[in-house]
Point group: C2
Chain length 274, copies 2
């Protein structure tokens, strides 16, 4: 399969930079008048997918909101992955997995590649156990033409202390961006990308040198503005998507309203990143 | 339900400090002559449980090795959780989950409490997004009498750079231990514990002040010795378990051999920690 970063560029040039976040929390299901059970979850997914198709190229289901229903929730997730990808959507599984060696490899088997039970186009991971420990996941992704997004600078405030701790010549987040860049360049690929909150201020040099795709959360509801996107992320060589969850799904439970809200976001984001 | 730390003390005083790690990797299934599919997984679990019962009080299934088989693998995990807990074993789900706010809460719903589909006695989490972001999981655990183990000093080498980065007056791992202690003391509980590799060298003061239970991996196959356990972890006030996975399961596929191997480890560990 074509490498993920290239597929991401194709999807965003066709539809725009929006990644529709699918976060079926108890609160969101309630706001759509849906029961907080697997049937409500399935209904949420059906309407969300209908609202996404034709308006966005990329969606990001938040895995925790399926896992909370156990097996029936994960069956809905599996259906979503299969249906969405069959219809041409790119799917980023927001699972924030993390482990070492053979365990990291097992997460690769679960989420990446044509034989993966929860096959996605890309997977989010967290780096606390070290980037090196995640290399089996990176390899699985490279082989499958999938992508990995390492959470580097999260959009929430509670992570700032750890993420800005001093590591070598810079901060933890700068060090990670640098190490990701080393990995990508040494493999002549853009397999490994980074999650960076829209409100964060990595230098354009650091992000460019990371040499992988960007997943940017925190636009809108978490305080990120079009101006921040423009000054921090416009004109970068990286493939990128901006994920919006609640501010998108709050248009529902109506596929047309979701499509129309998605189109508004696409216009705003295209303009900010032009 | 009685708080997890107290239940952990009861289990380890009855059986000893061993936590039997259940890591059904492709390699381990092959070494037991089992097929690398859900039927092989189920057979591995059945024999492992039989070998654990009566010899250990605590088991730790590695969730990735179930997730890699998709829904059928997770059905086996669910059966394991139910069966093991019904037979009085404490189960630590090694899932290393991590996320923020309502998403962290969803992981709590998935893994902790009497209505959780994958109900465990304790759950491992990673702290890259900040300890504060995990508070919904801590609260869910406290309410359910469950425990949380935050990965602080992992047993693998690739994590050392990040985990020893300079944060405030100390390292990332010292800072986290301190913050966990503040959380536990302010809630007058031992809900939140830490994962610390046996080969790591946190000070006894730092570990004691963390005021929660310890999960110690890396004994045996990853280089940790009885001497390291003795000098670093004996005599601490914390409830603790030492997890051993491959060196335990390599005694199989025979429940008696597993029980006998577990008893050997219990003797070694009891002596080291006396």
């Amino acid at each position: 399969m074509e490498p993920f970063a290239d597929r991401l560029r194709t999807a965003t040039s066709k539809f725009g930079p929006l990644c529709a976040g699918i976060d079926p929390s108890p609160k969101t299901l309630a706001s759509w008048g849906l029961p907080d059970d697997p049937s409500g979850l399935a209904a949420f997914i059906e309407i969300s997918l209908e609202g996404a198709l034709g308006s966005v190229g990329v969606i990001k289901p938040q895995v925790a909101f399926f896992e909370r229903f156990g097996i029936p929730g994960l069956v809905v997730l599996q259906d979503l992955l299969t249906t969405a990808r069959a219809q041409g959507l790119l799917v980023i599984a927001d699972a924030k997995r993390s482990d070492i060696s053979s365990t990291a490899e097992a997460y690769g088997s679960a989420w990446l590649g044509s034989t993966a039970p929860f096959g996605a186009d890309a997977l989010t991971v967290t780096p606390y156990l070290g980037l090196g420990a995640l290399e089996p996941i990176f390899s699985a992704a490279a082989q499958a033409g999938s992508g990995i997004f390492v959470v580097v600078s999260s959009s929430n405030e509670e992570g700032r202390g750890l993420q800005t701790a001093a590591w070598g010549a810079g901060s933890v987040e700068e060090h990670l961006l640098n190490d990701i860049g080393i990995y990508n360049r040494s493999h002549r690929a853009e397999t490994v990308g980074a999650v960076i909150g829209v409100t964060r201020e990595p230098t354009a040099e650091a992000v460019g040198a990371m040499a992988g795709p960007l997943l940017l959360p925190g636009f809108g509801e978490q305080g990120g503005s079009a101006e921040q996107l423009r000054t921090r992320f416009a004109g970068l060589p990286n493939a990128l998507v901006v994920s919006v969850s609640r501010a998108w799904s709050s248009a529902g439970p109506d596929a047309r309203a979701l499509a129309s809200r998605a189109n508004e976001f696409q216009d705003q984001l295209r303009e900010a990143l032009a």
